[in-house]
Protein backbone atom coordinates (compact mmCIF):
# COMPACT_ATOMS: atom_id res chain seq x y z
CA UNK A 1 0.00 0.00 0.00
CA UNK A 2 1.28 3.45 -0.90
CA UNK A 3 2.65 5.30 2.11
CA UNK A 4 4.03 8.27 0.28
CA UNK A 5 3.42 9.67 -3.20
CA UNK A 6 6.27 10.18 -5.62
CA UNK A 7 6.76 13.61 -7.18
CA UNK A 8 5.17 12.29 -10.35
CA UNK A 9 2.16 11.11 -8.39
CA UNK A 10 1.76 14.46 -6.65
CA UNK A 11 1.94 16.11 -10.07
CA UNK A 12 -0.64 13.66 -11.40
CA UNK A 13 -3.05 14.55 -8.62
CA UNK A 14 -2.63 18.28 -9.26
CA UNK A 15 -3.22 17.74 -12.98
CA UNK A 16 -6.68 16.30 -12.27
CA UNK A 17 -7.82 19.71 -10.99
CA UNK A 18 -6.90 21.61 -14.17
CA UNK A 19 -9.82 22.29 -16.48
CA UNK A 20 -9.73 21.99 -20.24
CA UNK A 21 -8.56 25.27 -21.74
CA UNK A 22 -7.13 26.58 -18.47
CA UNK A 23 -4.14 28.93 -18.67
CA UNK A 24 -1.47 27.46 -16.44
CA UNK A 25 2.01 28.35 -15.28
CA UNK A 26 4.11 25.52 -13.90
CA UNK A 27 7.08 26.37 -11.70
CA UNK A 28 10.56 25.25 -12.65
CA UNK A 29 11.44 21.65 -11.76
CA UNK A 30 9.03 19.21 -10.20
CA UNK A 31 5.83 21.22 -10.97
CA UNK A 32 6.70 20.98 -14.69
CA UNK A 33 5.67 17.30 -14.48
CA UNK A 34 2.02 18.35 -14.15
CA UNK A 35 1.89 18.89 -17.92
CA UNK A 36 2.45 15.17 -18.54
CA UNK A 37 -0.61 14.08 -16.60
CA UNK A 38 -3.48 16.03 -18.12
CA UNK A 39 -6.58 13.82 -18.19
CA UNK A 40 -7.67 12.64 -21.65
CA UNK A 41 -9.76 15.20 -23.48
CA UNK A 42 -8.37 18.14 -21.60
CA UNK A 43 -5.73 20.47 -22.90
CA UNK A 44 -4.45 23.31 -20.78
CA UNK A 45 -2.54 26.20 -22.34
CA UNK A 46 0.84 26.52 -20.68
CA UNK A 47 2.44 29.90 -20.05
CA UNK A 48 6.11 30.45 -19.51
CA UNK A 49 7.42 33.70 -18.05
CA UNK A 50 9.87 34.26 -20.88
CA UNK A 51 7.15 34.99 -23.40
CA UNK A 52 5.44 31.87 -24.74
CA UNK A 53 1.84 30.77 -24.41
CA UNK A 54 0.82 27.36 -25.71
CA UNK A 55 4.06 25.44 -25.61
CA UNK A 56 4.26 21.66 -25.87
CA UNK A 57 6.62 18.88 -24.94
CA UNK A 58 10.37 18.92 -25.02
CA UNK A 59 11.85 18.25 -28.46
CA UNK A 60 13.92 15.12 -29.06
CA UNK A 61 17.57 15.47 -28.03
CA UNK A 62 19.56 17.10 -30.79
CA UNK A 63 16.52 18.92 -32.19
CA UNK A 64 16.48 21.73 -29.65
CA UNK A 65 16.19 25.32 -30.82
CA UNK A 66 17.74 27.39 -28.05
CA UNK A 67 15.64 30.41 -28.95
CA UNK A 68 12.63 28.34 -27.89
CA UNK A 69 12.98 27.61 -24.19
CA UNK A 70 10.91 27.77 -21.04
CA UNK A 71 11.57 29.60 -17.79
CA UNK A 72 13.77 26.72 -16.67
CA UNK A 73 15.89 27.26 -19.81
CA UNK A 74 14.83 23.87 -21.16
CA UNK A 75 14.02 23.47 -24.85
CA UNK A 76 10.31 23.29 -25.66
CA UNK A 77 8.08 22.96 -28.73
CA UNK A 78 4.95 24.82 -29.77
CA UNK A 79 1.35 23.65 -29.95
CA UNK A 80 -0.99 25.10 -32.59
CA UNK A 81 -2.31 28.42 -31.37
CA UNK A 82 0.88 29.41 -29.58
CA UNK A 83 1.94 33.04 -29.25
CA UNK A 84 5.15 34.92 -28.47
CA UNK A 85 5.26 38.18 -26.52
CA UNK A 86 7.74 40.24 -24.53
CA UNK A 87 8.40 40.08 -20.81
CA UNK A 88 6.18 43.01 -19.82
CA UNK A 89 3.22 41.46 -21.61
CA UNK A 90 4.10 38.09 -20.09
CA UNK A 91 3.95 39.49 -16.58
CA UNK A 92 0.87 41.54 -17.41
CA UNK A 93 -0.71 38.12 -17.89
CA UNK A 94 0.64 37.07 -14.50
CA UNK A 95 0.15 40.20 -12.41
CA UNK A 96 -3.11 41.08 -14.13
CA UNK A 97 -4.79 37.90 -12.94
CA UNK A 98 -5.16 36.28 -16.35
CA UNK A 99 -3.67 32.90 -15.46
CA UNK A 100 -6.16 30.39 -14.10
CA UNK A 101 -3.61 28.58 -12.00
CA UNK A 102 0.05 28.72 -11.01
CA UNK A 103 1.60 25.58 -9.55
CA UNK A 104 4.74 26.08 -7.54
CA UNK A 105 7.11 24.28 -5.25
CA UNK A 106 7.51 25.24 -1.60
CA UNK A 107 9.94 25.21 1.30
CA UNK A 108 7.14 26.10 3.69
CA UNK A 109 3.44 26.93 3.45
CA UNK A 110 1.70 28.59 6.39
CA UNK A 111 -1.91 28.03 7.40
CA UNK A 112 -2.78 31.59 6.32
CA UNK A 113 -1.50 30.92 2.81
CA UNK A 114 1.92 32.52 3.19
CA UNK A 115 4.49 30.83 0.97
CA UNK A 116 8.26 30.53 1.34
CA UNK A 117 9.90 29.05 -1.71
CA UNK A 118 12.72 31.29 -2.85
CA UNK A 119 15.36 31.52 -0.16
CA UNK A 120 16.65 29.27 2.56
CA UNK A 121 18.37 32.11 4.29
CA UNK A 122 21.14 34.65 3.89
CA UNK A 123 23.88 32.31 2.69
CA UNK A 124 24.76 31.83 -0.97
CA UNK A 125 23.45 33.74 -3.95
CA UNK A 126 19.81 34.81 -3.65
CA UNK A 127 17.59 34.24 -6.69
CA UNK A 128 13.87 34.83 -7.02
CA UNK A 129 12.91 34.64 -10.69
CA UNK A 130 9.19 35.03 -11.30
CA UNK A 131 7.93 33.36 -8.11
CA UNK A 132 6.96 36.57 -6.30
CA UNK A 133 4.98 37.73 -9.33
CA UNK A 134 3.25 34.41 -9.88
CA UNK A 135 1.97 34.07 -6.32
CA UNK A 136 -0.01 37.30 -6.61
CA UNK A 137 -1.08 36.91 -10.20
CA UNK A 138 -2.82 33.64 -10.90
CA UNK A 139 -6.49 33.23 -9.93
CA UNK A 140 -5.46 30.08 -8.04
CA UNK A 141 -2.02 29.39 -6.56
CA UNK A 142 -1.35 25.76 -5.74
CA UNK A 143 1.72 24.19 -4.21
CA UNK A 144 3.25 20.77 -4.83
CA UNK A 145 5.52 19.50 -2.12
CA UNK A 146 6.66 16.62 -0.02
CA UNK A 147 4.69 16.72 3.20
CA UNK A 148 7.90 17.02 5.20
CA UNK A 149 11.48 18.12 4.56
CA UNK A 150 14.30 15.64 3.97
CA UNK A 151 15.00 15.97 7.69
CA UNK A 152 11.39 15.09 8.49
CA UNK A 153 10.37 18.60 9.52
CA UNK A 154 6.86 19.79 8.61
CA UNK A 155 6.57 21.96 5.52
CA UNK A 156 2.95 22.89 6.36
CA UNK A 157 3.44 25.23 9.29
CA UNK A 158 1.70 27.72 11.54
CA UNK A 159 3.83 30.51 10.18
CA UNK A 160 6.79 30.48 7.85
CA UNK A 161 10.25 30.86 9.36
CA UNK A 162 11.98 31.18 5.99
CA UNK A 163 11.87 34.37 3.89
CA UNK A 164 8.45 34.81 2.31
CA UNK A 165 7.68 34.67 -1.39
CA UNK A 166 4.20 36.02 -0.87
CA UNK A 167 1.59 36.58 1.79
CA UNK A 168 -1.80 34.82 1.92
CA UNK A 169 -1.44 33.57 -1.63
CA UNK A 170 -1.68 29.76 -1.59
CA UNK A 171 -5.12 28.19 -1.72
CA UNK A 172 -4.33 24.48 -2.14
CA UNK A 173 -1.40 22.24 -1.28
CA UNK A 174 -0.79 18.87 -2.91
CA UNK A 175 1.64 16.89 -0.76
CA UNK A 176 3.11 13.41 -0.76
CA UNK A 177 0.46 12.48 1.82
CA UNK A 178 -2.56 14.69 1.38
CA UNK A 179 -4.49 17.42 -0.39
CA UNK A 180 -5.01 20.41 1.87
CA UNK A 181 -6.95 23.60 1.19
CA UNK A 182 -6.25 26.91 2.86
CA UNK A 183 -9.41 28.65 3.99
CA UNK A 184 -9.83 31.44 6.53
CA UNK A 185 -6.28 31.07 7.81
CA UNK A 186 -6.68 27.32 8.37
CA UNK A 187 -5.47 24.15 6.75
CA UNK A 188 -8.52 22.13 5.74
CA UNK A 189 -7.80 18.48 4.94
CA UNK A 190 -9.57 17.35 1.75
CA UNK A 191 -7.84 14.08 0.88
CA UNK A 192 -5.28 11.80 2.48
CA UNK A 193 -3.60 8.55 1.61
CA UNK A 194 -5.73 5.66 2.89
CA UNK A 195 -2.64 4.13 4.49
CA UNK A 196 -2.16 6.99 6.91
CA UNK A 197 -4.43 7.94 9.78
CA UNK A 198 -5.54 11.46 10.55
CA UNK A 199 -3.46 11.39 13.73
CA UNK A 200 -0.38 10.24 11.86
CA UNK A 201 -0.89 13.00 9.30
CA UNK A 202 -1.41 15.60 12.01
CA UNK A 203 1.83 14.47 13.66
CA UNK A 204 3.87 15.41 10.57
CA UNK A 205 1.98 18.67 9.97
CA UNK A 206 3.15 21.84 11.68
CA UNK A 207 -0.29 23.35 12.20
CA UNK A 208 -3.75 22.12 13.01
CA UNK A 209 -5.46 20.22 10.18
CA UNK A 210 -9.12 21.12 10.15
CA UNK A 211 -11.79 18.84 8.78
CA UNK A 212 -14.79 20.24 6.97
CA UNK A 213 -16.95 17.42 5.70
CA UNK A 214 -15.65 14.17 4.30
CA UNK A 215 -11.95 13.41 3.92
CA UNK A 216 -11.61 11.64 0.59
CA UNK A 217 -9.07 8.93 -0.12
CA UNK A 218 -6.12 10.24 -2.09
CA UNK A 219 -5.85 7.61 -4.79
CA UNK A 220 -3.22 7.97 -7.46
CA UNK A 221 -2.04 5.48 -10.11
CA UNK A 222 1.40 3.90 -10.06
CA UNK A 223 3.65 6.15 -12.15
Amino acid sequence: MTTRLSNAQIAWRAAQDIADGAYVNLGIGFPEMVARFQPPGRQAVFHTENGVLGFGEAPPAGQEDWDLINAGKKAITLNPGAAFFHHADSFAMVRGGHLDVAILGAYQVAQNGDLANWSTGPRGVPAVGGAMDLVHGAKRVAVLTDHVTKDGMPKLVESCTLPLTGVRCVTRVYTSLAVVDIENDHFVLREKLPAISLDELQAVTGARLHVDGEIADLIVPEL
Binding site: G54, P80, A83, D89, A92, V94, G97, H98
Partner: protein
Protein backbone atom coordinates in the same frame (compact mmCIF):
# COMPACT_ATOMS: atom_id res chain seq x y z
CA UNK B 1 -10.66 25.03 -26.49
CA UNK B 2 -13.03 26.87 -28.74
CA UNK B 3 -13.91 30.48 -28.07
CA UNK B 4 -16.06 30.91 -31.18
CA UNK B 5 -19.48 32.46 -30.70
CA UNK B 6 -21.96 31.69 -33.50
CA UNK B 7 -23.81 35.01 -33.62
CA UNK B 8 -23.53 38.66 -32.72
CA UNK B 9 -26.70 38.36 -30.63
CA UNK B 10 -25.12 35.65 -28.48
CA UNK B 11 -21.88 37.63 -28.28
CA UNK B 12 -23.58 40.53 -26.49
CA UNK B 13 -26.25 38.55 -24.65
CA UNK B 14 -24.71 38.65 -21.18
CA UNK B 15 -23.85 42.32 -20.76
CA UNK B 16 -25.91 43.55 -17.79
CA UNK B 17 -27.44 46.90 -16.99
CA UNK B 18 -24.92 49.20 -15.37
CA UNK B 19 -21.92 47.45 -16.92
CA UNK B 20 -18.68 49.25 -17.67
CA UNK B 21 -17.91 48.55 -21.32
CA UNK B 22 -14.67 49.31 -23.10
CA UNK B 23 -15.22 49.74 -26.82
CA UNK B 24 -12.24 49.60 -29.17
CA UNK B 25 -11.52 52.06 -31.91
CA UNK B 26 -10.14 55.53 -32.48
CA UNK B 27 -12.79 57.44 -34.32
CA UNK B 28 -14.11 54.92 -36.82
CA UNK B 29 -10.85 53.01 -37.18
CA UNK B 30 -11.25 49.79 -35.23
CA UNK B 31 -14.81 50.56 -34.12
CA UNK B 32 -16.72 47.28 -33.65
CA UNK B 33 -19.83 48.62 -35.33
CA UNK B 34 -21.61 45.26 -35.62
CA UNK B 35 -21.12 44.40 -31.95
CA UNK B 36 -22.40 47.82 -30.91
CA UNK B 37 -25.43 47.51 -33.17
CA UNK B 38 -26.13 44.03 -31.81
CA UNK B 39 -26.18 45.56 -28.35
CA UNK B 40 -28.66 48.16 -29.54
CA UNK B 41 -30.81 45.43 -31.10
CA UNK B 42 -30.83 43.59 -27.80
CA UNK B 43 -31.85 46.72 -25.92
CA UNK B 44 -34.62 47.46 -28.40
CA UNK B 45 -35.92 43.92 -28.01
CA UNK B 46 -35.49 43.50 -24.25
CA UNK B 47 -34.98 46.97 -22.74
CA UNK B 48 -31.49 46.01 -21.58
CA UNK B 49 -28.65 46.82 -21.18
CA UNK B 50 -28.92 50.42 -20.06
CA UNK B 51 -26.97 52.66 -17.71
CA UNK B 52 -23.71 51.68 -19.34
CA UNK B 53 -20.40 53.39 -18.68
CA UNK B 54 -18.57 53.38 -21.99
CA UNK B 55 -14.81 53.81 -22.31
CA UNK B 56 -13.60 54.87 -25.75
CA UNK B 57 -11.27 57.56 -27.04
CA UNK B 58 -14.21 59.47 -28.54
CA UNK B 59 -17.92 59.79 -27.99
CA UNK B 60 -19.39 58.80 -31.29
CA UNK B 61 -19.84 60.35 -34.70
CA UNK B 62 -23.09 60.73 -36.63
CA UNK B 63 -25.85 58.26 -35.82
CA UNK B 64 -24.10 54.87 -35.91
CA UNK B 65 -21.87 52.92 -33.53
CA UNK B 66 -21.27 54.62 -30.19
CA UNK B 67 -23.32 57.64 -31.27
CA UNK B 68 -26.30 55.33 -31.87
CA UNK B 69 -25.72 53.66 -28.50
CA UNK B 70 -25.88 57.08 -26.86
CA UNK B 71 -28.84 58.14 -28.96
CA UNK B 72 -30.77 55.11 -27.67
CA UNK B 73 -30.24 56.33 -24.11
CA UNK B 74 -28.21 53.27 -23.16
CA UNK B 75 -25.17 55.19 -21.90
CA UNK B 76 -24.97 56.84 -18.49
CA UNK B 77 -21.38 58.05 -18.75
CA UNK B 78 -18.54 58.30 -21.25
CA UNK B 79 -14.85 58.03 -20.32
CA UNK B 80 -12.86 59.48 -23.19
CA UNK B 81 -10.13 61.89 -24.25
CA UNK B 82 -11.81 63.61 -27.17
CA UNK B 83 -15.62 63.74 -27.12
CA UNK B 84 -15.75 65.52 -30.45
CA UNK B 85 -16.02 64.36 -34.03
CA UNK B 86 -17.13 65.51 -37.46
CA UNK B 87 -20.74 65.14 -36.29
CA UNK B 88 -20.81 65.03 -32.49
CA UNK B 89 -24.43 66.15 -32.11
CA UNK B 90 -25.74 63.10 -30.29
CA UNK B 91 -23.25 63.28 -27.42
CA UNK B 92 -23.07 67.08 -27.36
CA UNK B 93 -26.81 67.55 -26.97
CA UNK B 94 -27.12 64.99 -24.19
CA UNK B 95 -24.05 66.35 -22.44
CA UNK B 96 -25.22 69.95 -22.53
CA UNK B 97 -28.64 68.80 -21.32
CA UNK B 98 -26.99 67.03 -18.38
CA UNK B 99 -28.27 63.66 -19.55
CA UNK B 100 -24.89 61.97 -19.87
CA UNK B 101 -21.75 62.08 -17.74
CA UNK B 102 -18.21 62.61 -18.97
CA UNK B 103 -14.86 61.74 -17.46
CA UNK B 104 -12.27 63.48 -19.60
CA UNK B 105 -8.85 61.77 -19.58
CA UNK B 106 -5.73 62.71 -21.55
CA UNK B 107 -5.32 60.22 -24.36
CA UNK B 108 -2.01 58.72 -23.24
CA UNK B 109 -3.20 58.52 -19.66
CA UNK B 110 -6.36 56.79 -20.85
CA UNK B 111 -4.28 54.21 -22.73
CA UNK B 112 -1.92 53.67 -19.80
CA UNK B 113 -4.74 53.42 -17.26
CA UNK B 114 -6.34 50.70 -19.36
CA UNK B 115 -3.03 48.86 -19.73
CA UNK B 116 -2.52 49.20 -15.97
CA UNK B 117 -5.92 47.63 -15.41
CA UNK B 118 -4.89 44.70 -17.55
CA UNK B 119 -1.43 44.40 -16.03
CA UNK B 120 -2.38 44.47 -12.35
CA UNK B 121 -0.93 47.93 -11.69
CA UNK B 122 -3.42 49.81 -9.47
CA UNK B 123 -1.67 53.18 -9.85
CA UNK B 124 1.20 54.85 -11.65
CA UNK B 125 2.71 58.31 -11.97
CA UNK B 126 2.86 60.52 -15.04
CA UNK B 127 3.87 64.08 -15.89
CA UNK B 128 0.78 64.31 -18.07
CA UNK B 129 -1.79 66.80 -16.79
CA UNK B 130 0.41 68.00 -13.92
CA UNK B 131 -0.63 71.53 -13.03
CA UNK B 132 -3.82 71.37 -15.10
CA UNK B 133 -7.51 71.12 -14.33
CA UNK B 134 -7.48 67.43 -15.26
CA UNK B 135 -5.14 66.65 -12.36
CA UNK B 136 -7.36 68.30 -9.77
CA UNK B 137 -7.88 66.13 -6.72
CA UNK B 138 -5.27 63.59 -7.78
CA UNK B 139 -2.26 62.82 -5.57
CA UNK B 140 1.02 64.38 -6.68
CA UNK B 141 4.50 63.08 -5.87
CA UNK B 142 8.02 64.19 -6.64
CA UNK B 143 10.52 61.90 -8.31
CA UNK B 144 14.02 63.07 -9.20
CA UNK B 145 13.03 66.70 -8.79
CA UNK B 146 9.90 66.71 -10.92
CA UNK B 147 6.24 66.59 -9.93
CA UNK B 148 4.07 63.74 -11.19
CA UNK B 149 0.37 62.96 -11.01
CA UNK B 150 -0.86 59.63 -9.68
CA UNK B 151 -3.30 57.94 -12.02
CA UNK B 152 -5.39 54.83 -11.27
CA UNK B 153 -6.03 51.71 -13.28
CA UNK B 154 -9.15 51.39 -15.41
CA UNK B 155 -10.95 48.08 -15.76
CA UNK B 156 -14.18 47.01 -17.34
CA UNK B 157 -16.78 44.30 -17.11
CA UNK B 158 -16.71 43.78 -20.85
CA UNK B 159 -14.58 44.85 -23.80
CA UNK B 160 -16.09 44.91 -27.28
CA UNK B 161 -13.36 45.08 -29.87
CA UNK B 162 -12.71 44.52 -33.56
CA UNK B 163 -9.79 42.53 -34.95
CA UNK B 164 -8.73 41.10 -38.28
CA UNK B 165 -7.89 37.41 -37.75
CA UNK B 166 -8.93 35.47 -34.69
CA UNK B 167 -8.27 31.81 -34.04
CA UNK B 168 -10.28 29.41 -31.88
CA UNK B 169 -8.03 30.21 -28.90
CA UNK B 170 -8.71 33.92 -29.28
CA UNK B 171 -5.30 34.88 -30.67
CA UNK B 172 -5.76 38.10 -32.64
CA UNK B 173 -4.21 40.24 -35.33
CA UNK B 174 -5.42 43.73 -36.23
CA UNK B 175 -5.53 45.77 -39.40
CA UNK B 176 -3.29 48.85 -39.59
CA UNK B 177 -4.27 51.73 -37.27
CA UNK B 178 -7.46 49.89 -36.28
CA UNK B 179 -5.31 48.29 -33.57
CA UNK B 180 -5.18 51.43 -31.33
CA UNK B 181 -6.80 50.77 -27.90
CA UNK B 182 -8.09 47.25 -28.59
CA UNK B 183 -5.10 45.18 -27.38
CA UNK B 184 -5.18 47.14 -24.11
CA UNK B 185 -8.91 46.81 -23.61
CA UNK B 186 -8.68 43.07 -24.23
CA UNK B 187 -6.35 42.92 -21.21
CA UNK B 188 -8.40 45.14 -18.94
CA UNK B 189 -11.88 43.66 -19.21
CA UNK B 190 -13.22 40.74 -17.22
CA UNK B 191 -14.76 39.51 -20.46
CA UNK B 192 -13.45 40.37 -23.92
CA UNK B 193 -15.64 39.81 -26.97
CA UNK B 194 -14.10 40.27 -30.39
CA UNK B 195 -15.59 40.63 -33.82
CA UNK B 196 -13.06 39.39 -36.37
CA UNK B 197 -13.09 39.57 -40.13
CA UNK B 198 -12.05 35.93 -40.30
CA UNK B 199 -11.99 33.09 -37.81
CA UNK B 200 -9.10 30.71 -38.44
CA UNK B 201 -7.95 27.45 -36.88
CA UNK B 202 -5.23 27.43 -34.22
CA UNK B 203 -1.87 27.47 -35.95
CA UNK B 204 -3.02 29.68 -38.83
CA UNK B 205 -1.63 32.81 -37.18
CA UNK B 206 2.17 32.80 -36.97
CA UNK B 207 2.99 32.90 -33.23
CA UNK B 208 5.39 35.77 -34.03
CA UNK B 209 2.53 37.85 -35.45
CA UNK B 210 -0.05 37.43 -32.71
CA UNK B 211 -0.77 40.88 -31.30
CA UNK B 212 -3.29 39.88 -28.64
CA UNK B 213 -2.64 36.41 -27.18
CA UNK B 214 -5.77 34.36 -26.61
CA UNK B 215 -5.44 34.49 -22.82
CA UNK B 216 -6.95 37.98 -23.01
CA UNK B 217 -9.92 36.93 -25.14
CA UNK B 218 -13.14 35.22 -24.13
CA UNK B 219 -15.20 35.09 -27.29
CA UNK B 220 -14.69 35.50 -31.03
CA UNK B 221 -17.48 36.12 -33.52
CA UNK B 222 -16.93 36.37 -37.26
CA UNK B 223 -18.16 39.46 -39.13
CA UNK B 224 -16.79 38.90 -42.59
CA UNK B 225 -17.41 42.33 -44.09
CA UNK B 226 -17.42 44.78 -41.23
CA UNK B 227 -18.82 48.25 -41.78
CA UNK B 228 -16.52 51.26 -41.54
CA UNK B 229 -18.00 54.00 -39.37
CA UNK B 230 -16.52 56.64 -41.66
CA UNK B 231 -18.17 55.13 -44.72
CA UNK B 232 -21.50 54.84 -42.91
CA UNK B 233 -21.34 58.46 -41.88
CA UNK B 234 -20.45 59.62 -45.38
CA UNK B 235 -23.61 57.82 -46.48
CA UNK B 236 -25.58 59.55 -43.68
CA UNK B 237 -26.45 56.20 -42.16
CA UNK B 238 -28.61 56.02 -39.05
CA UNK B 239 -28.91 53.00 -36.77
CA UNK B 240 -31.37 51.52 -36.32
CA UNK B 241 -32.66 52.37 -39.79
CA UNK B 242 -35.92 54.29 -39.71
CA UNK B 243 -38.66 52.09 -41.08
CA UNK B 244 -40.30 53.56 -44.18
Amino acid sequence: MDKRIPSLAEAVADIPDGATVMIGGFGGSGAPIELIHALIDRCLATGSPRDLTVINNNSGNGHVGIAALIEQGMVRKMVCSFPRSADPRVFTEKYLAGEIGLELVPQGTLAERIRAGGAGIPAFYTLTAYGTDLAQGKPVAEFEGRQYVQERWLKADVALIKAELGDHHGNLTYRMAARNFSPLMAMAAARTIVQVTQVVAPGCIDPEHVVTPGIFVDGVVEVANPAQEEALNRANAVYPEVQA
